[in-house]
């Protein structure tokens, strides 16, 4: 029972990690995942979130085996 959490770009640099593997206990939503993984850091404004490589809201549910990602606004092209 676990989920993988990934971080990209400036957010990855600011928290100093590219990923976490977390037990699912106590986490119902994407917002819970951030708070559990980063208890001492508020989610920066404008952060985008994805579950299994699709954009989601922080209130979206998570389940066992999900890959959750947090990253800043995209700047490609």
């Amino acid at each position: 029972m676990s989920i993988k959490v990934r971080y990209f770009a400036s957010l990855k640099e600011s928290i100093g990690r590219s990923e976490d593997i977390l037990g699912l206990a106590g986490m119902a939503t994407v917002g819970d995942v951030w708070r559990y993984a980063n208890p001492n850091k508020a989610l920066p404004d404008n952060t985008l979130a994805a579950v299994n490589m699709d954009y989601v809201e922080l209130s979206s549910p998570v389940k066992d085996g999900d890959e959750v990602a947090f990253f800043p606004p995209v700047t490609g092209g």
Partner: protein, 148 residues
């Protein structure tokens, strides 16, 4: 339809030619090809820029680009489309992105390629980090609206 992520420099003109030759069944069917190429500048926000690193989210980038192209296909009668995007270390004057769209008539080619490009800018997970001449590194915070 083809979506490619390149970790090495690419030649957009070569990509267009090889794609067009590889899909022989579109020959004679298209009357319009619209091409957008984004190239790295050596300046940004008043600073000289000597290089850039483009990070992406492997898997999600391809998935989102696939959705964007599919949305364009639903809205316009697109015969074929090609999207190529660079990642990794990039130098000024190197192409970053290519969007090519083949349609029967020009209006659909203009509109569909614009849609793909604007959606790519706001939804495809790529992030640019600039290396300035002063050796300072900085992440781009957001994209511009596309006008000077």
């Amino acid at each position: 339809m083809d979506i490619k992520i390149c970790s090495e420099a690419f030649d957009p003109w070569q990509e267009i030619q090889s794609h067009q030759h590889s899909v022989a069944d579109i020959a004679g069917k298209f009357g319009a090809t619209n091409i957008f190429i984004g190239t790295m500048r050596d300046f940004n926000e008043g600073d000289d820029v000597k290089g850039m690193t483009l990070e992406h989210y492997p898997g999600m980038t391809e998935k989102q680009l696939g959705k964007i192209v599919a949305e364009a296909l639903q809205q316009w009668p697109v015969i074929d489309a090609l999207v190529v995007h660079r990642v990794g270390d990039i130098l000024p004057n190197e192409p970053i992105v290519l969007v090519a769209v083949w349609t029967s008539h020009r209006g659909d080619a203009f509109d569909a390629s614009r849609y793909i490009m604007e959606a790519l800018k706001s939804r495809a997970p790529f992030w640019k980090k600039e290396l300035l001449e002063s050796e300072v590194e900085r992440w781009l915070v957001k994209n511009t609206d596309g006008y000077l």
